[in-house]
Symmetry: C2
Subunit: 349 residues, 2 copies
């Protein structure tokens, strides 16, 4: 199988490595920056790098367009013009409706979105295991060629991902609420805090840091995502404004938001504990002394028994001399984990 990768960044490069290592494909790569191709070859992301997009697509069975969201429509249209009649063309963008529109119902196009990534950009950080266990959304339409869809599906499954078919609009609405709105909200919190604390303030603890981890993330990339998903995101902003208005009105009328607080506690449990990860997860909160080595002790004690920590957050109280470690692990490991952590002398809440 010949795979073309158009755009050799972190995701494109990782697609290349996975295709070579896990599907035995011959991978031809192209990048608009001519200096990237040789780096990609050296890193094992491609078998060959071509100077033109047309060259990369010659004889390709599958092509992945891996550019920032704002450049994807044009790249996909170019790829469909250059690709042969039996080549399935996909992309890896995190907003799907615009690129599906840009493909004008071409039966060879299937939009895609691997929900995976890393902070580090560039092909030098590409890894063949980046998609292990990740959901990989695919957006076939009524006009999609079934054989081509099957080929793409099997290939991303071979990468270790879980392909999941979805309507572009449903995908974009879903992402607007679990990813794009949280980015806007993180910006909001930083913005308001910066206005209020102009004179400087000790008083920004772990919870503020957690809530704003993605604030101001890669402006070019994220501006492109916001713009590409402007309708769904604007709708979520309407809903957010309405709900914050209700909360404010309740407060001003003498209420205390207690019922909402209780409903949200139930909703979060339902959303995260039952659905987030393949197996049911449980959250363990541990009060620790935040000196070098504490996190290591806990992680090692669990690791020794093969208990994987699927998420972890250490929130220091103020200046890092104390902390709460929040761990997530598989629910059926949680009791054993609680025992092990207790044996280290840390109470689990």
């Amino acid at each position: 199988m010949r795979v073309a990768v158009l755009g050799l960044g972190l995701i494109g490069g990782s697609v290349g490595i996975a295709a070579r290592e896990r599907a035995g494909a011959h991978v031809v790569g192209w990048d608009p920056d001519p200096e990237v191709g040789p780096v990609a070859r050296e890193h094992g992301a491609v078998d060959e790098a071509t100077p033109t997009l047309v060259g990369a697509l010659a004889g390709a069975d599958v092509a992945f367009a891996a550019a920032p969201v704002d450049a994807l429509g044009e790249l996909v249209a170019d790829a469909l013009r250059a690709a042969g009649p039996d080549c399935v063309v996909s992309d890896v963008g995190s907003v799907k409706s615009p690129v599906v529109d840009a493909a004008y119902g071409d039966p060879r196009f299937v939009g895609g979105h691997p929900v995976a990534g890393a902070e580090a950009a560039g092909v030098a950080h590409a890894r063949g295991d980046l998609f292990d266990g990740a959901v990989w959304y695919l957006t076939p339409t009524a006009r999609t060629d079934g054989m081509l869809y099957q080929r793409l599906y099997k290939l991303v499954a071979a990468f270790g991902a879980h392909p999941e078919a979805i309507e572009p609009e449903v995908h974009d609405r879903r992402m607007s609420v679990v990813s794009h709105l949280p980015h806007v909200i993180a910006n909001l919190l930083v913005d308001l805090a910066a206005r209020e604390l102009e004179g400087g303030a000790p008083g920004i603890g772990g919870s503020f840091r957690d809530a704003t981890r993605v604030a101001g993330a890669n402006p070019r990339l994220w501006a492109g995502i916001y713009a590409a998903n402007r309708e769904a995101l604007s709708d979520q902003l309407d809903a957010a404004i309405a709900q914050l208005g209700r909360a404010r009105d309740e407060l001003r009328a003498g209420g205390d938001l207690r019922e909402w607080q209780e409903a949200v506690a139930r909703d979060r449990r339902m959303l995260l504990e039952e659905r987030a990860v393949g197996v049911p997860q449980r959250e363990l909160r541990i009060a620790v002394t935040n000196r070098p080595g504490v996190v290591a002790e806990i992680a090692l004690a669990l690791g020794r028994e093969g208990i994987n920590i699927s998420d972890m957050s250490l929130a220091p109280s103020w200046d890092a001399t104390q902390g709460t470690v929040t761990l997530w692990c598989a629910a059926d490991h949680a009791d054993r984990a609680t025992t092990l952590i207790g044996e280290l002398g840390f109470p689990v809440a």
Copy 2:
């Protein structure tokens, strides 16, 4: 010195232990629940537990009211009635204006707020080192007796905290933006996601979890805090609604929020890197394979050289097979930390 602790939960109990161990005080405790006193004594939080508030205050030099925010006003008023003329009365609530008002300008009252805590509630989790390095806000007024203020200041400093004098209104505005609004916002994100994802959805990753860690936290406690700080919090909600409205309008008008994203990136760096912690911090982002032991390896490698991790967050990509570890450490340790982590084979972004 005789210290009275009124309310023997996590904070009250920790005050008791710190007063005994670090200030050599004789601590007398009272709790509205008669079963708590004996537990507190067994845990070392008090030298004696009394069945009445008046008994606890007899001969006290310092008294701490440690009840949930919505019960503090009454408790402080009771304490001031029962305390002698040379007893300084303080509290530990996270909203200050209402309790300062409730003290009616009594020269013996100084409001307080140790910015410390843990997920685990109850005197059984109390610790004498809970306040190590924490900011402890104090709200003296023009009517406060200087000698009594000095006594309180020296005592909380002996606990290991950093006392900082502040106007009640300034304190409450500051907390509304760095703590109370983020809690409301976390609720909002969960609320909207629960509405959108009613049918269930794989697609809630680490960033959503980070952003909603405090959603639905202890409803009784937090409803009390929201209500106690209703004015400052309502004002922040007004500002939040206005800013989200501007973002939505820009999106609907065809914009992409890029300038805002860039400004926020600068603001966050300014807020967190320069101010949050006593010493300047730097953020290191590390792409790792999320198997048992990785976090331990990193933490141990840094711990061995005495590099303290002041904050840590592990964000898995979707289902926990890959991850990004974000670490914060002292800026002048960051280069060495980067080298050590690099030697383990993990690229630092």
